[in-house]
Amino acid sequence: MTHVVTDACERCRYTECVAVCPVDCFHADAARLYIDPDVCIDCGACIPACPVHAIVDAFDLTAEQERWLAVNAEMCTSLPLITEQEAALPTADARRAELGF
């Protein structure tokens, strides 16, 4: 099992999660981040770090969120690793407000 980045990351891409991850399990494209399930050790450090609560323990995924499990795994096979925190997207604050955080 693993932890999973859900769609709340889209248009935010805060990357605070990357700074606290002890094992470098995040991959990214321009839009958002994904967790490599083979590398994630389920430490949970990223969950409270995410300003928009985009990361979920796979055990806690809702039925609606389940699909992100496979998406995370698949995207990580081709996307590059991200190991340093980066600036959030310009749309991040608006998106965060929209999500109610």
């Binding site: 099992m1 606290v20 002890p22 094992v23 470098d24 083979d38 590398v39 050790i41 389920d42 430490c43 949970g44 450090a45 409270p48 323990d57 796979a58 055990f59």
Partner: protein, 699 residues
């Protein structure tokens, strides 16, 4: 309760080197959530897959909350609630009768580190059972063999500070998978890696840590001692020895060199499966990349030469002068940095001469009467332990626990496979509901655990359990009326240099404190020797070997009688393990990623993370037996059998299987059904990595 909202500083109670500082949120009198303390340098704001939701353990609907007595056949789990008074009266009456008829040695305590707090952990029941005169339990579950080997070589020194690993130039993780079992150490390794250090993992399986390392060396199971001696051979033969350090701070160099000469790279290659070139490369890089570090995991001891492997590995840092700088040396068990008053914890002076000692790996044989020279055991008292999961020869343990004439008492959080056989079950508090003070066997911090909430139901901490039992048995020594705070005060030498500036009050206020030792970038405890061995030097040839094989008294209630005593070679080396009935596979049974020994094996979140009970098998081996990925297979040998799901992976080489320990067996068995109680070479460590098995498709 509705307005009881607080934040509490606590400590993780588990048998893990990380001993995390926890921040607990209490809402409406319940534990709402737990988090890693961001201010603690080692915890660094994270917990782990095991305890991230400790509140689910505390408030589980399956908790045992009241004393219970058995109402159906043993093992069926039929119990009825009784009062504490009835439970204590029943135990007292039964034990007094047994003592009158058969003597106190017919009673056997069984425990380990279900919680490892100073007060409620390893030695929590020792004063009580020593006072009673019960048979002594020798607890060699973990690191006892490594401790014997390490102490024969280096003495009881803390060794390296794990935080100093960030300054290492070369890190060898040997039989150690920190990604799963020491996760808070990993960032210090990753930091070293970023600074250019090379990280090497030596493990038969390509573990999570091996995948993150720069180099994985897949040694054959049980051959670590040969590989370590091969390194010594190359280091000596190629003149890579730090002569000055060796001359000043070691004894027995010439004898070790003579022994190491037998371990040529060619010979070692044939034993270990590691190529001659890789053996040479490993030795050269390790010697030349100073400061170099070796971190050994608990698994190192789990074979017939495991203790001597630790001896050999403990010699290497001295040979290359690794101890000279912070970030150099070997890390085994920094527990020895803590000035613990072991005598006050155990009260060994109460042990009557001649009191028998039984090793706890032998429980199945003892209960079934197969163990020669063991006293007849009529009552078993289990706390902090679940032998049906963690101990070998599972079928024998089950058979023993079924004995109608055995009076079994189990103190627990849950109705475990062991507790299901109890006559009386007692409710134990979780860490949320108890006071404790934690040492660590993986870093250099003291951590305080103040109770987060009041005990749930009628559960009690082990300290209170033994106060009640002492009263029941009429033991009136002051030991049994000390409060938890008095016990904590008595547990440490607060005047010791390492505790200067640290008091119980400060710990209660601040939650944790680093021992008064130099900072990680300054900590080089043996830069100028000072090893706490009989000679004061690294004993490459061990003078303590003359006394024969032994288990440290802290693992045997303080007793030093009836030690193993078998002869020990004062020089390290590898011994060929028994053939194991010629069965085709070596079976490794490492700790699970998501369970903590047997802990959490019953909780849904951790079960989901661990996945079904499985056996990792190389695809070639699986294909040869018609086993597909996900198929049910049976693993068997002459000791027993268990069923699991096959997981095809190149993480293990052909000829090696891996099945994690921690799954609750229920009716189907788990990996300890096929492990045997044969000891390794030192400290009565288990030899589980020597286990040989076969597999077949189907149940």
């Amino acid at each position: 309760m509705a307005d009881d909202n607080r934040t509490v500083l606590g400590a993780c109670p588990h048998d893990c080197p990380d001993t995390c500082s926890m921040v607990i949120t209490v809402k409406d009198g319940k534990v709402a959530s737990v988090a890693g303390n961001p201010d603690h340098p080692f915890t660094d704001g994270r917990l782990c897959v095991k305890v991230n939701h400790y509140e689910e353990r505390v408030h589980s609907p399956d908790r045992v909350l009241y004393p219970m007595k058995r109402t159906g056949p043993k093992g069926t789990g039929q119990f009825a609630r009784i009062s504490w008074q009835e439970a204590l009266d029943t135990i007292g009456t039964k034990w007094k009768a047994i003592i009158a008829e058969s003597g106190p040695t017919a009673i056997l305590p069984y425990s380990y580190l279900g919680t490892q707090g100073t007060l409620n952990g390893l030695n929590a029941g020792d004063p009580f059972f020593n006072k009673m005169g019960a048979t002594i339990s020798e607890r060699t579950f973990c690191d006892s063999g490594a401790c014997t080997g390490y102490i024969m070589t280096l003495g009881p020194t803390a060794g390296m500070d794990p935080e100093s690993l960030q300054y290492s130039k070369y890190i060898v993780l040997w039989a150690c998978n920190p990604m799963s079992t020491n996760t808070h150490m990993w960032p210090f390794i990753a930091e070293a890696q970023k600074r250019g250090a090379k990280v090497v993992v030596i493990d038969p399986a390509r573990t999570r840590s091996a995948q993150a390392a720069d180099w994985h060396i897949a040694v054959k199971p049980g051959t670590d001692a040969a590989l370590a001696m091969g390194m010594a051979n190359v280091i000596i033969a190629e003149g890579l020895v730090d002569k000055e350090y060796v001359d000043a701070y070691t004894t027995g160099y010439d004898e070790l060199a003579q022994r190491a000469a037998e371990y040529t790279p060619e010979k070692v290659s044939s034993i270990t499966g590691v190529s001659v070139d890789d053996i040479r490369k490993l030795a050269r890089e390790y010697a030349k990349s100073q400061p170099s570090a070796i971190r050994i995991g608990v698994a190192i001891e789990r074979n017939g030469s495991g203790g001597q492997a630790v001896r050999a590995l403990s010699c290497l840092p001295a040979l290359v002068g690794a101890w000279r700088k912070p970030g150099g040396g070997i890390l085994q068990l920094p527990l020895w940095a803590f000035p613990i008053n072991w005598g006050n914890l155990m009260r060994p002076e109460w042990v009557q001469p001649g009191t028998p000692v039984l090793n706890q790996w032998l429980l199945g044989r003892v209960l079934t009467g197969e163990q020669p020279d063991a006293p007849g055991i009529r009552s078993l008292f289990v706390y902090n332990a679940n032998p049906m999961v963690v101990a070998p020869e599972q079928d024998k343990i089950r058979k023993g626990l079924e004995r109608e004439d055995l009076f079994t008492v189990v103190s627990e959080h849950f109705l475990t496979d062991t507790a299901r056989y109890a006559d009386i079950v007692l409710p134990a508090t979780t860490q949320a509901e108890q006071f404790d003070l934690m040492f660590s066997w993986g870093h250099l911090y003291m951590t305080m655990n103040l109770p987060w909430i009041a005990p749930i139901g009628e559960s009690v901490p082990n300290t209170e359990l033994f106060r009640r039992l002492a009263k029941t048995m009429g033991f009136d020594d002051p030991q049994f009326s000390y409060t938890d705070e008095e016990l904590a005060e008595r547990s440490y030498d607060w005047t010791a240099p390492t505790l200067q500036g640290i008091t119980l009050d400060r710990l209660k206020r601040e939650g944790w404190a680093r021992l008064n030792v130099p900072a990680p970038d300054q900590y080089a405890p043996h830069a100028a020797g000072g090893f706490p061995t009989p000679s004061g030097k690294v004993e490459l040839k061990a003078s303590m070997a003359a006394g024969g094989n032994f288990v440290l008294p802290v693992f045997r209630q303080g007793s030093n009688e009836f030690q193993d005593g078998t002869p020990v070679d004062p020089l390290p080396g590898w011994t060929k393990p028994p053939a194991g009935d010629g069965l085709p596979f070596a079976l490794l049974s490492p700790k699970s990623h998501a369970f903590l020994n047997s802990g959490y094996g019953n909780l849904r979140r951790q079960q989901a993370h661990a996945g079904e009970q499985h056996v990792v098998i190389n695809a070639a081996d699986a294909a040869a037996r018609g086993i597909g990925d996900g198929a049910t297979i049976t693993v068997f040998n002459s000791t027993g059998a268990f069923q699991a799901v096959a997981k095809l992976s190149d993480e293990v080489p052909t000829g090696v299987l891996q099945s994690p320990m921690g799954y609750w067996p229920g009716a189907g068995g788990s990996v300890n059904a096929v492990n045997t109680a044969r000891f390794g070479d030192l400290g009565r460590a288990p030899s589980f990595s020597d286990t040989r098995v076969n597999v077949r498709a189907g149940a």
